[in-house]
């Protein structure tokens, strides 16, 4: 299975939301990283065929997805960034409703809903109305609906927003298991989530796909550009103004700065191993 994106572009008037993005995705976990307004959501909506591109096409194994219609949507699982819910439905009713829209026969739907409620840890509250749920619980219902039809292509826009650390770990394990023979595209601002589970990272900036590769491949780009420097608290404020400080931590009387710089920022600075977050911050430094 191959999902190929061919020069996909979306304009909103004069604003270019997605600018000629081309890539090919095979089964695996893809992390989509980019600042707000980078075009991630627009790209995901075009991949779901709910937003018509200005130009360019998306193909699944050579077939144009918009022409595949229901056959393509049958393969999709999608969790939008801001999704709503019918407040008077219980978690179980909501999932059964979504199963009906996905064309899952009633008996299979009941079984699948029970399984998924257990997977996302909502089996004890399945008869409670969604309006009484916390933000994290609502998001777990959203994740469950995306998995209802055993999707071959799973597109998740900010799925971990609002989840507590324990839920995030549970979600990461579930999804990374899921991506073995499926295409999973995950957009998030939480770089550590992507670092932990993504096979490949797609870095977007101003609508363009600026980098694509595995985490080690990408972090190599930032190698030799990440420095640690111990300074006094008074100096730390000055450094924050004149350099790109990725992190700051207090150790006794000193402040340890993690600085992103092409050249050694100070004689005492020590070069350290780059992480995906460093690359992310470096890419969006300007």
């Amino acid at each position: 299975m191959e999902l190929s994106i061919d020069r996909l572009t979306k304009h909103y008037g004069r604003k270019i939301a997605v600018d000629c993005v081309s890539t090919a995705l095979r089964p695996g976990m893809y992390g989509l990283l980019g600042e707000n307004g980078a075009g991630k959501t627009t790209l995901m909506r075009m991949l779901c065929a709910i937003l018509e591109p200005t130009s360019g096409e998306v193909f699944l194994d050579g077939m144009e997805v918009s022409a595949m219609g229901a056959d393509y949507r049958d393969l999709l699982g999608y969790l939008p960034q801001d999704f709503g819910y019918y407040p008077n439905y219980t978690a179980r009713e909501f999932l059964l409703y979504m199963a009906a829209l996905k064309g899952i026969p009633r008996d299979q739907a009941k079984k699948r809903v029970r399984e998924l409620l257990e997977i996302v840890g909502l089996q004890d509250v399945e008869t409670k109305k969604i309006k009484a749920f916390s933000g994290g619980m609502k998001r777990r219902v959203g994740i469950a609906q995306a998995l209802l039809n055993h999707p071959k292509i799973l597109i998740l826009d900010e799925p971990t927003a609002g989840l507590d650390p324990k839920e995030r770990v549970r979600f990461r394990n579930l999804i990374s298991d899921y991506a073995k023979d499926r295409i999973v595209i995950l957009s998030t601002h939480i770089v550590s989530d992507i670092e932990a589970i993504a096979d490949e990272v797609l870095l977007m900036r101003k609508g363009k796909l600026v980098s694509q590769g595995t985490v080690p491949e990408l972090t190599k780009q930032a190698a030799g550009k990440v420095w640690e420097l111990a300074v006094s608290p008074a100096e730390a404020a000055q450094w924050q103004e004149k350099a790109s400080v990725a992190n700051l931590r207090h150790e006794g009387e000193q402040v340890i700065l993690r600085i992103l710089s092409d050249d050694r920022p100070a004689m005492e600075a020590v070069c350290c191993e780059a992480t995906l977050e460093d690359l992310y911050l470096q890419s969006f430094r300007e």
Partner: protein
């Protein structure tokens, strides 16, 4: 359906420039079938058809659809008993049936479910179609009950044809406008549509007072012309919905 690999395969076969020899044609057909087979195997899971989906929509939305219609019918029936010349006021009542279809049709937009529903197998278009079938059925039942009640109050079947036109023309005007609004994705105009429907009730009510000739037998021709025009608009909207369902295009307001 466009298929890039089949297209490339056929292009390369054509480029070989040979006249369509039976062997070559057979070889090309076999190649195409092999590619298609290679692309199969996605949809191995059982899926329900449209009628099963319709019964599911009835299960989830039926109460709202039929409950709202029954509520409006009840209120109208209470009014009808106290009115003179009640047949002239039929056009005031029927847009109300269309008006209460709005919460059902725009429910997913109101609760920000449009995007999630549009990505499902049924997509927005089948959901709208199913809701329209159910709401349309409920509307027809209610309008029939209303007409029967009016005829019983008048103790006469005279002007029955005209009364049918008085009920259907305003209904078709409102439904066509609503479907056009959904198709053109004029999200910001949902409230405008509701106001326009409520306004049309007032307008028809004023016409009953100010233009009594409109409700005389001699004006039947005008009503027939209006019926044909708006039935045409309504039919066109339904055809467009069906076409979009067939082509698998996104339909409706996806926020």
């Amino acid at each position: 359906m466009r298929d890039r690999r089949i297209e490339e395969y056929l292009q390369s076969s054509l480029r070989q420039g040979e006249e369509g020899s039976p062997d070559k044609i057979e070889e090309t057909a076999a190649g195409c079938i092999e590619i298609m087979r290679g692309q199969g195997g996605y949809g191995e899971e059982e899926r329900t058809g449209f009628w099963q989906f319709l019964s599911d929509v009835l299960r989830f939305e039926g109460l709202a659809i039929f409950g709202l219609q029954a509520g409006v019918l009840f209120v109208i029936c209470l009014q009808v008993g106290y009115m003179d010349n009640v047949s002239h006021y039929i056009p005031v009542f029927t847009p109300l049936f269309a008006l209460v279809v709005m919460p059902v049709l725009f429910r997913s937009q109101f609760y920000k479910m449009g995007e999630m529903e549009a990505v499902t197998r049924t997509s927005g278009v089948e959901i709208i179609l199913a809701k329209l079938i159910l709401a349309g059925g409920a509307n027809l039942i209610c309008i029939t009950v209303l007409l029967c009640l009016i005829m019983r109050l008048q103790n006469s079947r005279e002007n029955m044809g005209q009364m049918v036109l008085y009920s259907l023309v305003p209904y078709l005007v409102c439904m066509s406008a609503m479907l056009r609004l959904i198709r053109l994705r004029r999200k910001e105009r949902i409230s405008v549509c509701a106001v326009a429907m409520a306004g049309s009730c007032v307008g028809w009510g004023l016409s009953a007072k100010a233009l009594p000739w409109l409700y005389e037998t001699s004006a039947a021709g005008l009503w027939i012309v209006l019926f044909v025009i708006f039935a045409g608009f309504f039919g066109k909207e339904l055809c467009l919905i069906w076409e979009m369902k067939r082509e698998g295009k996104p339909y409706g307001i996806i926020d």
